[in-house]
Amino acid sequence: MQVKTRNIYLIPYMLWIVLFVIAPIALIVYYSLFNITGTLSLENYTRFFTPVYLGMALRSFWYAGIITGISLVAAYPAAYLLTKTEHKQLWLLLIILPSWINLLLKIYAFIGILGYYGPVNSFLDFIQIGTRQILFTDFSFVFVAVYIFIPYMILPIFNALEELNPSLVAAARDLGASSWKAFLRVIFPLTLSGVKAGCRAVFIPSLSLFMITRLISGNRVITLGTAVEQHFLVTQDWGMGSTIAVFLIIAMVLTMLLTETVGKVN
């Protein structure tokens, strides 16, 4: 009887999973098996292994890696300082706040800021460096992506640092470690779970960015995300778009597994 009522509570969640997770994935796999003329074949998969798509995949990984790396390097010290400040919750709120604002709005704001007649170029002009093209460059793409994703990197690292027993750091210092050695041998290894969670939260969505590539880098940077969008909306080649999506899903699962199994320390 009790087991039955519990199962009833599970129904809405199960429905959700089936409708919005399992069904879409099944659809994607289904569509990926049809080529542009609508015949059943593995043509799309063989096409994925041509230089055009492999290059795109490589570039996606490359940019996602750079975005993750820069986010990590910027987020770790920020999270560390955050644990030392007096008004932790306030600072944390200020860092999370931008992530509550619509992504598209933030991107449009950056178009204004980085544009040819925007404040950044006015400033560069003012200090005699001169105006230049900032928008539609690799730099602006990575910069805006890091800005968007950095809260998701700071949060898990902050949590891991908060959980770290301060007497472990004191013990390391007591045993002769300088503050840098204490960081390398104790603080960083023990907050690795937070670092991995942060990398996962940044790397996976970075793989399939398309809005930022389109609006900030003017499609000069083409990633797998852009390719999926173009195939569905422009070339109408749903089969190929789905195939790329399948590979994206595989890449995500692999990233999850890689960052999950190694970090069993805590």
Partner: protein, 368 residues
Amino acid sequence: MPEHIIIRFENITKQYDNDPPVLTDINFELERGKFYTLLGPSGCGKTTIIRLIAGFIQPTTGGIYFEGKKINHISPDKRRVNTIFQDYALFPHLNVFENVAFGLRIKKMKPELIKEKVEEALRFVNLKGLENREIAGMSGGQQQRVAVARAIVNEPEVLLLDEPLSALDLKLRSEMQYELKELQRNLGITFVFVTHDQEEALALSDEIFVLNNGAIQQRGTPTDIYDEPVNKFVADFIGESNIIPGVMIDDYLVEFVGNRFECVDKGFYPDEPAEIVIRPEDLEITEEDQGKLQVYVDSQLFRGVHYEICCYDKDGNEWLVHSTKKVAVGSKIGLDFAPEDIHVMRLGETEDEFDKRLESYGGVRHAG
């Protein structure tokens, strides 16, 4: 400074922001190779003292000296002291061997030498053969030993122990007390042990510092502190005691509960009000008409080794008696005690004044 002094605190005060000071004008010297205990209730400043010695915090004013050199601003990694933390602070990402080897690896010692030293340290704490164990899979007592090995492998001059036994159960705790005392004898280094457990302090120490409200109340050997507490706080904190108001009539004569008794204290003003301390185990139960005091038995508890008997005299003072004899609750009994069982405390006397007065006795000590 004499050779045998290893650590000296000179007018140390520690204060955080505008809070009342944690430590106020602390002065002491620690000798090489002795077992010191800082004893006091929580919040008395005892842990602050060892954090100052370790270098985790700096004093607000005053100087800390190590072998005669001021070390106020020397960072913890450059001090020849090691700490055993209350929660052991073992590194959860390293196994037993790597935990113990941590300090040696930092020093970039040769791997063969590290192996040798770590194994020796583990043998010292009876953990040989557990090198590859993970910390999480060890019992409290084993973790404690790893913490000891990790500290002593660095051959510190002073070992600081921050309530290291408080997390262990009673039986294991008394076992570890023996082991710690043994360890200190074998290593011959200075131990500074922090505890709030007076029995532990009495059992282990060469010298005890009793702390309260950020000040040292009394320092001395365990027997000195037990037999001659300087004030009500110490008498109350160390062991059980009966503290009764009284009047010091003359040298060697004290009056309480309406009677005059012979005692061994002197150096008071005539008819000076004072506090009398008599330990519960120094009171002997007699027939009602034979003792020096007549009391009414209010309650009795069996404590295993002895009965703890709570009595009241005619003035309403409470008398705690420890006796192996059982008495009837509600009956009247007599209490007997010897002159040397009475310890008279001057009201508001400082430790220095107390020591001076004690010297004037010409070496007379209370019996234990």
